[in-house]
Subunit: 206 residues, 2 copies
């Protein structure tokens, strides 16, 4: 039995371009009929390994200025509601842990909600009350998930995701992977889908 | 009289992704019927301002590994002959100065030739003999251009290009600009062309 390796969308809640991908990936995936595995991880430890204590967009001014202009421009292009967050990068640790506990539609609804809070509504996504309210608004996720997300087993899941990202050679977000094949950046989503579609199923299961 | 601002392709001879753009931009530009201004500049001074003494692809290993894999993949996609250079980044200073002196077809032929020497034939593009041979092979460029390129007035042109790039907020190559609008990265060429096509001519000449 041969089975294609999953198409994994690696995202980080603080990442601007991850927000764009989260908003557009479902519609694009439908066109290609490709199932997506949404995978939260943390950029913090990866950036720390590179000697950065914050986002490179804060460290390298020209790059940061470009990114904020580009965000406005891309959100217009994709018709995504957007406002520049007054605090960047926001701490998405707890939200990422919660998303590790969720599956299916609940997971996607929660992830998109958190991204929208950060990049549409300029809310502090590390605030436990804001997270609680978001879960209430989604409606069908049990509110005790916030407590569950703070147990060591869940912390371990997110840590493993981040370790796996580093092992795969991921250095930024969003990144799309199929097996060991990496596509970095929201603008490479189409290339990643094309790759997934073209690969021979048998060649992938080796 | 209203006139559209030029579509400028900012490139650096050491830059891998600039090579890809140089190989594909003419055909794409023809589809859009957009004239291209090929503009050499130097990344060295820009990287130095950011505290880097070499390419960030050499400093940040995961990013570098990804880039080399991506180069192979993109060159296959675009059917560009490519081999990984044994020395990176190569010093394109003299070649950039020469290209400042050229115009029209001679300029484009020379630029593409240098990129191919670096990224297809693994040649040292800072070597004056290799540059001389390249000019001879192109056939219709006077060989004394190498001497002319080393005069202070030509050095000044390239320095001005780099200063202008910094002023525009350019931080990497390739970058495409239309007025103050920047598009960074070979994967954003289509966006840049779309932008150029859509803009109202009168709005640009303000």
């Amino acid at each position: 039995m041969y089975k294609k390796k999953p198409f994994i969308f690696w995202f980080e809640f603080a990442s601007t371009y991850s927000f764009i991908s989260a908003m557009v990936i479902e519609e694009k995936a439908k066109q290609y009929n490709i199932p997506i595995q949404w995978q939260p991880f943390l950029l913090g430890p990866i950036f720390k390994q590179q000697g950065w204590s914050t986002s490179p967009f804060n460290i390298y001014t020209a790059k940061g200025n470009y990114m904020w202009h580009d965000m406005k421009r891309l959100c217009q292009k994709y018709e995504i509601d957007y406002q520049k967050p007054t605090n960047f990068p926001r701490n998405g640790l707890l939200a990422a842990r919660i998303s590790c506990l969720l599956e299916g539609k609940a997971k996607i609804d929660f992830i998109k909600k958190i991204f929208q809070l950060n990049f549409e509504q300029d809310k502090d996504i590390s605030d436990i009350e804001i997270l609680g309210k978001a879960i209430k608004e989604i409606g069908y996720i049990s509110e005790d998930i916030i407590d569950k997300a703070q147990t060591s087993s869940v912390k371990e899941i997110l840590k493993n995701n981040t370790d796996q990202a580093i092992e795969l050679g991921i250095f930024g977000a969003p990144t799309f992977t199929i097996g060991n094949e990496l596509f970095w950046g929201q603008d490479r989503l189409g290339d990643a889908f094309d790759y997934y579609q073209k690969i021979d199923e048998s060649s992938l299961s080796k």
